[in-house]
């Protein structure tokens, strides 16, 4: 049987080396892609909204910081705010938390990925980019357990190899070089994946 599933949302986790990696992915996302994109970039607790401003200029989607109780809208890229975990609620809105760090990180990729997987289930795509710790590994495992699709940046193209390496070891659906990621996502999100 050949079923086509359509994806509802994209989550991205990235740490050390993130600015360059995100620059190679986010502006490459098609303007026609109307699913929301939610990004956790590890950063220092007192960071300002530089990333949001920076990518808002570069991307065809509008780029915003995620806020507590904000309904998640199509065609928007959201960044987790510094020093808060970002969670997805059942009604597809955001929630924030100041709970203890996970994998030394707040925001933590695992927290976003696990809560998003609960809500979007098989409709979720998760991407792990460059980073120097193991955050996101539990997250991609949770996404796969719910039937979602997971991608890791190939460690050879990653500024820091640990994070994608750890995700790959736990198991992901696809490993891609950095420059292949945006085109692949554009195809995946527009057509869905043809499944046998």
């Amino acid at each position: 049987m050949n079923t086509v599933k359509t994806y509802q949302a994209l989550v991205i986790g990235v740490s050390a080396g993130g600015l360059a990696a995100l620059k190679a992915v986010l502006p490459g996302l098609s303007a026609r892609m109307d699913q929301p994109v939610i990004v956790v970039q590890h950063m220092s607790p007192d960071s300002d909204d530089f990333l949001v401003q920076y990518f808002d200029k570069l991307c065809s989607q509008s780029v915003k910081e995620a806020e507590d109780k904000l309904p998640i809208c199509k065609g928007t890229i959201y960044f987790a705010p510094p020093n808060y975990h970002l969670l997805v609620e059942d009604d597809k809105s955001f929630a924030l938390s100041t709970a203890e760090r996970v994998q030394y990180s707040r925001p933590a990729i695992d927290v976003l990925f696990e809560t998003a997987a609960d809500v979007y289930k098989q409709g979720l795509v998760g991407v792990i980019l460059t980073g120097a710790n193991a955050d996101g590994t539990k997250g991609v495992t949770a996404i796969r357990a719910k039937g979602g699709f997971t991608i890791a940046q190939s460690p050879k193209t990653a500024e820091a190899k640990t994070m994608p390496g750890s995700a790959i070891e736990a198991g992901v659906d696809m490993v891609l070089d950095l420059e292949e990621i945006a085109p692949f996502i554009n195809r995946l999100m527009s057509k869905g994946a043809a499944l046998d």
Partner: protein, 280 residues
């Protein structure tokens, strides 16, 4: 069983567990933000070695120490002295001059956790010469954490952050004057507790706390769903004098609540609001 049935059953079990907590101990977590509660319960289940929420529910009912651990999971107690130093700088520069126009002020720290932000404000009131003219109420629903708040003892290793926060927040003294240290902990000076009344108060189930000039409730509302946020904001609204101030966490706002029209924004970034003088 399909995945959907499994999830549906898990949701039913979690609801029953929260109902059991309410019936047995009086704490109502039913209107907490769902994703947060689910995450905390899942973690505790994993750590406890039990496999189902029904097993955990039984343990909660019969084993109070176990419930107390879970209570700590469900009430987030991560904070710092002078957390978000720029916020305290704003309080010092913008709010304190306004509050000095009153002969006496009442301050309420709602959800005070282990007291770090209460003592931060005590220091600020002392340095600004407002201490004698103030009464501070610090409340939390978790009595164990309230005991920690009363003690005012913090691990030595966080003092570096607290000191740096204090300086960035416009501290006018030497931070080390406010505590004495041994090799593991610091104990805050008793004087900082003089004007503070610690008491148990549950924002979900308890009533109005009257005639406040200033309410701090930072990073508490994010754990509530919209219905409960509105209920608690009504409680704050009723507890504030007209023109009284409400301070929320740096990523909280009144934006998605029913109260946007009943407060003026004093400071957008610092999330300082003022109850309108006249009811509309």
């Amino acid at each position: 069983m399909t995945d959907n049935t499994l999830e549906e059953n898990e949701t039913i079990e979690m609801k029953l567990l929260l109902e059991a907590i309410h019936l047995k101990y009086g704490y109502n977590f039913k209107d907490y933000a769902n994703a947060h509660t689910k995450r905390r319960l899942r973690n505790r289940l994993k750590m406890s070695g039990m496999t189902t929420y029904t097993d955990m529910m039984r343990r909660i009912i019969y084993d109070e120490p176990f419930f107390n651990e879970l209570l700590m999971d469900l009430s987030i107690n991560v904070t710092e002295m002078f957390r978000d130093p720029w916020f305290y700088l704003k309080v010092r520069e913008e709010l304190i001059p306004r509050l000095k126009t009153y002969s006496f002020i009442k301050v309420w720290h709602a959800g005070c956790s282990a007291g770090q932000e209460v003592y931060s404000m005590s220091i600020l009131l002392e340095e600004e010469g407002m201490k004698k003219r103030s009464q501070v109420y610090a409340t939390d629903f978790n009595e164990l954490i309230l005991e920690k708040a009363k003690a005012g003892i913090y691990p030595l290793d966080v003092m570096k952050t607290y000191t740096s926060n204090y300086q960035k927040a416009g501290g006018t003294g030497d931070f080390s004057d406010y505590y004495t240290a041994d090799d593991k902990n610091v104990i805050l000076k008793r004087g900082l507790r003089e004007k503070v009344l610690f008491s148990s108060h549950n924002l979900v189930t308890d009533g109005v706390f009257g005639e406040m000039h200033l309410i701090f409730c930072r990073n508490v509302l994010i754990y509530f769903n919209r219905k409960l946020q509105n209920q608690v904001l009504q409680l704050f609204y009723d507890s504030l004098i007209p023109g009284g101030y409400l301070c929320l966490g740096s990523k909280e706002s009144l934006k998605f609540t029913d109260f946007t029209d009943r407060f003026d924004v004093v400071s957008k970034k610092e999330k300082i609001y003022r109850k309108k003088l006249m009811a509309e």
